[in-house]
Subunit: 248 residues, 8 copies
């Protein structure tokens, strides 16, 4: 329930299209719903414009199922990240239309359709191994109704591949650059565009890569301006932010 939905409901009540009992029913969990192990933030969509997302890592299958079960009583789209297949099976029992992207490890349930944005988010990866993070970003951007263009495997070791795709990248409203190893792609893209660049370091690499720390540090120290950074492998976070910017 976002701000428009709420206004609509109150107007419906005022105009007696909806009776008060139904209104109470719809609003009583407004601030949050306490499940004991989780307090679901129903107020979030009004406050920040997006429904709460389920970060599944560290939760039990039972907890994930319980949270989805409650969420399904509301009219929001649902996104679960870092979900395993067992969680997906449990969710699917509740809602057969749930979809699982194995590479992205996301569960998505679409309860309401909204118009896709006209401007788009470009998702660029340095290598093939960065694709799982890119897919998490993709699923996130899509569930929030963004148009997306993908440019995969465009790392700086063969920089002409990047230049070949620069038109697609330049025309995006916001760009997500996903790279592991030394993460140089963020700086190179940042130096070539006049749009916000959200850099996602990935844990792709080995040795002195330290599970993505090198790419993270590299991106934080980018000599190109206009680049900001999210946590290692955080495709979700990048796409969430990109979506906010894309809709400004």
């Amino acid at each position: 329930m976002d701000e428009n939905d709420l206004r609509k409901l109150l107007e419906d009540i005022k105009e007696q299209k909806v009776n008060v009992d139904r209104g109470v029913e719809l609003l009583k969990d407004l601030p949050f719903k306490d499940l004991g192990y989780a307090m679901i933030d129903n107020h979030r969509e009004i406050r920040v414009g997006y429904p709460e997302v389920i970060y599944c890592a560290g939760k039990t299958v039972k907890q994930v199922r319980g949270i989805v079960e409650f969420m399904l009583t509301k009219e929001n789209n649902i996104l679960g990240t870092r979900a395993n297949e067992e969680m997906y099976q449990a969710v699917k029992e509740l809602c057969p239309c749930a979809r699982y992207n194995k590479e992205a490890r996301t569960i998505t349930i679409r309860k309401k359709e909204q118009k896709e944005t006209e401007s788009y988010i470009a998702i660029v990866t340095a290598g093939t191994s960065d694709i799982p993070v890119a897919e998490e970003a993709f699923e996130t951007a899509r569930i929030f109704d963004n148009k997306v263009e993908k440019v995969f495997d465009a790392g700086v070791a063969g920089i002409h591949r990047l230049f070949h795709k620069m038109d697609i990248i330049r025309q995006a409203k916001v760009i997500i650059v996903i790279a592991g190893m030394e993460g140089a792609l963020a700086s190179v893209v940042g130096g070539l565009v006049d749009k916000p660049v959200i850099a996602v370091p990935t844990s792709v690499g080995y040795g002195a890569n330290f599970g993505g720390v090198t790419a993270l540090l590299s991106m934080l120290n980018s000599c190109a301006s206009g680049v900001s950074v999210v946590n290692i492998d955080n495709g979700f976070g990048a796409a969430y932010l990109a979506s906010i910017i894309n809709k400004l």
Copy 2:
């Protein structure tokens, strides 16, 4: 055997209610019992007011069993932390009343009942994934006879959930705040209460979370005063300290 038990025994001997041989029997292991692989600190309860706790990680099932076997000859409550199910099965053979909390990974054996404290410890978690650490804290606080209130999933991303529970938190005598990721909850709670806050960073998170280091550092640098910190995932340690404070 704590200080009161000891005094009682000596008075009983003085008044000839207990004979000397029985006294020797009861006191001969007073300082510690040497099992070869472990020297059990029987003197601890007199010295620091609490019986020794078995930290099961890194011990063999046989060693855990042996230690519990000896401890059962004394009249103390027993707490084993970081215990796996195999250890629990071995202990249960010795003592059918042993209880296992799977989430907390604790084994508890209650040999003597004591009055529950009137004041209580509040255990607050930022997220659902922090619950296992909270459960370890809960079991620890309970075996030491503390009253406990739980507030789970009250992280700062939806801060109104925290405010909704502030009354419970403010009326505690001491507060345990358990959070992973960036651990901001400790600072926010610390800025709102006039009670000691014991912060427990958890290893919940990924990437630049470094297994809880980020939450740990965050809590150590809390801009709110009155906050101190224990090791990552150390629910036991936090509750042990909270129990000392709760009983002051």
Copy 3:
């Protein structure tokens, strides 16, 4: 010279308002000007929409002066960051209208006025000690003609101060949150708004703060979505990005 200026010049040439020699003169340094110790990127404003900025740290006074001297032959506004007073004195000799913000350590020269944006950037700091970084952000945002609102010393240890200012923060188009110590402010603000939050960790703190690393990690692990991060003390970078977003 940005894309509009370039188009204008070429049309003037086409329409013979400007002769070819003058065109050559204006365009010959277009890609870059090589000073030996520096290749000034004149093409940058066309490519990414902003003139090059002088990062003064690690440069000699003579080099800074030389770069400014060349830049003054173009019609761009000039920004020097991390500049010391000696650099400022050298620049002032070249251009008496140069301004120095001592706290921010910035030199600014305004060669052309542009309309201020209608939407604004909110710059929020956790403490008084974070102000120098905020001032660098402020000067950067201003030289790029953004409207700015400042909210200083609104850290979470006294969270009602933040709530008091939430209206100003919520109505911004993009928010810069600047905090040292544990950097919790970024998460709290991120959980309360539906706008992009650019978090700037500062080196304010001591001990296990590690010169801002704790705040950096904390912000990267923010439990609130919609938050991205720039380098420690990088007020310039945050404002540069905020300016791009503010003008989308």
Copy 4:
């Protein structure tokens, strides 16, 4: 103004001992006072029981002076930490009774006397070089009216020195252990007492001490229970928390 002061004022107004204008005057800055560069948290004493403390590091002399100047209009005791002599001189001009502890780098101003606690806080240091941190703790504990006992230079390299002082330590209500190098003192004390131990790692040491990190880690991993930790060299934080516990 703490909770009692507030109740008193409102009752005085009710009983017409204080007129409404005076009440407005006294209460108008209640939540906080905005100085532009600082929002002073006047509500803090009601909320958490202690007045706000001035962390002087990173502030200008002018800012410190301005904050003290405003604070002096209230009836609270004032504590400035990490203050240099120049700050002290500026404060002394405002308030001749201000006192400076050079070793502790604290400025203290006593505006109201309160009864000293009956129970005491023990401050124990491992070495002579840890004394500056101990002095900061001492000044903090004293301005909050705690009785304090000092035991200095009792490190484990000559453990009989510690045992000689154990009576003083054991009878405290709460113990602050301050140690650099390997910080072993916290574990040894923690194993000998039944009181809360607040461990303060110091930056005393060299090489692989890493400015106190070794002592910090050591204390966080203490094999003795009942020990919690604050930031490196944070004598203030330890004493603040100790004071809360001492007054429970």
Copy 5:
């Protein structure tokens, strides 16, 4: 073949007790034997007084077997460390008298008996979980014919247990202290004895223990003099050095 063996052989040749062909046979591999994947250092016993030890980690079972096979052609005792059971089975086929200590993960083969030292090495552990490292040290010290005394589970959390065993520790010629967590035991023992203390940090612990780094740093910063440190979990290295010292 140590220096004495070599001298004996040459004298036997001089006195024609051994013919030259046999001498060539015995000496031809003297500097080393090249197996392709390993160059076995036969000269080592002459040069440094001890035969080469097989560090089995990272070697294939086949390689370990091949190295032992060659070594068995010499008259040296053999020690393999960090060996798994599969390696032991392969070695046992070559030499039925090979012995495997599962806790220590050592393979030992005794080809010549030598007189045990009169002075002894004390091996002290802080906890039960440190025993595997202690057993590696024990096997190493024994294969080099040292007398050894074990004191296990004498950590500082119950320091009277340590004092009870101080006589055994003080009378050793050299002391190995093995501890995980915060490693405080090394400092406490170091402050109580006038013998060399070799500290072995172990990876026992969790969270901010970082796999033994905390204990390592703690021991390196010991406030007690006379303490030196070997790598984390390096029971072998400590005992090797202790053996050199014990035989001085």
Copy 6:
């Protein structure tokens, strides 16, 4: 297709030995081939003299197979690194002549034979456990047609073994030194030769080795000049560079 092949093709077209359609066929993928998940850099061999290598880690079996399938349409030798056996099986189905080096984890396919270099690369390891990295280097050097000499297990603990092999090492044109633990071999070799030394730290070791970081740092700080370093366990990278140098 390297620069010579390209020149040859164009001359053949000029001399009408090859018709234009065939030319188009051969050249249309020249810059790169976009497979969706990978953009294969066909231009690489012209630009940098070597065909693209497949870094298999983090790719799916299907992706590796797809890339090889496309590459086989060109006349280049193929090298896959960090490949598992499943990948090899998939590749073997496409090309029965594919070879798998299990220790090195490399897949190699030889499509064209070239003359072996006259000068050689020496590959030196400190221990037996470093051999897998050495084998990766060996396979890489060989697929690029370099003559190679191996010297394995020549670490400094038995330095006479190294001296015995110094002639082989000194006569190489470039030397790869592969070592784990403290990596001292790189410095010792560097001090004895007048050829470029490429040092490869390996993750061989434990405890404070930190997965090869110690060897890496050690090599970067080598007191001998003429030593440069590649990433931990990067046998491929060292041999690639050695090959460039060997062919200068």
Copy 7:
């Protein structure tokens, strides 16, 4: 005295052009000269082809002077790195022809002229602030008689500047890439050339740059092959190695 000089001398002695006493005089310090505080390695030029270089940091002025004084008795060129002006003054007294490059902090003394190489070393920097390291590399390369081409301030934020200079870079025999911040330039250059690239991370940057660590890690993880790395700010080491390669 290099290998040719030595051969010449011995032939002169054989042919009685030089008498034996003179020969002894010239050769007696051949292996090294012991000055008490320094053993000067005169054998080095024969062994590794280059005279010993004086690393001045951490030496007293007196020690530097003493070492130069002895070296001047030989006919070698002399290079002192990390030298301050006071050292230079002391050296100049001994040898008026000594030259000091203030930016590079090098002292050079040319005692014999040799033919400059025909092939050249390219020294490329990302920014103006990297020039001091480049100058150290330049002086080192020059004292060893290499031809050098400089390309300064060609960082990836304005990548067309780099492309403009690619011809100079591509035609070098070996390329030194010097960059701070995120060090992306090494990867971009590495992907464009078929020559050895020696990457030098610099300490240029701030915050999460950690004094050059980010650039170091970035370069070690370069996705482009053919790149190896030396220590942070080690312009000397890079040029020393480049010189070896340039002369192969």
Copy 8:
């Protein structure tokens, strides 16, 4: 007062050579003397065989002076480490025979002469810049009456210099190896001797040396056995331990 002195005193009292009042005078400070800021451990010489040493860093001049003043009332030799010249001047006023070694930063006062040991300690450094640490070790070894041999500047970059001095090193009873940069010397020496090697990493180096951490890690991971390590730059600690071993 060591154990012999104590025994002598008690016998003198028994035989009435010393009266009881004098005995009380001599013994009353036996366990320790409390100066308020320092508890001087007089019992130490009896307990561990060596008088307490003054670690001057972090102490005020006044504190150092006060401690020395008290110590002078006993008949022990005195050693102050990490002392600056101002401290020395203060001590010299109390005791004109005090000696200051500027390089070592030690103050020494010799109150009783003892026989020098027959066996000796070898102190070996890798470079000239390591000499200050070596001098601290030298002064420490000498005040405890050890014979010492110095071998300076024998690093592995010119390994023949080390071999030239191997006789001196091999005949020592215990060897201290002092090295910065990559610290390889410890491993090379460790592989060549059959004596205990105490390795001291120094902070000599730059960049990825991290103030001695690289040398420290390198030494902890030494592939040669028989090597143990003390803190960075801890010449005192190494010599203290060497002295214990040298006197076994």
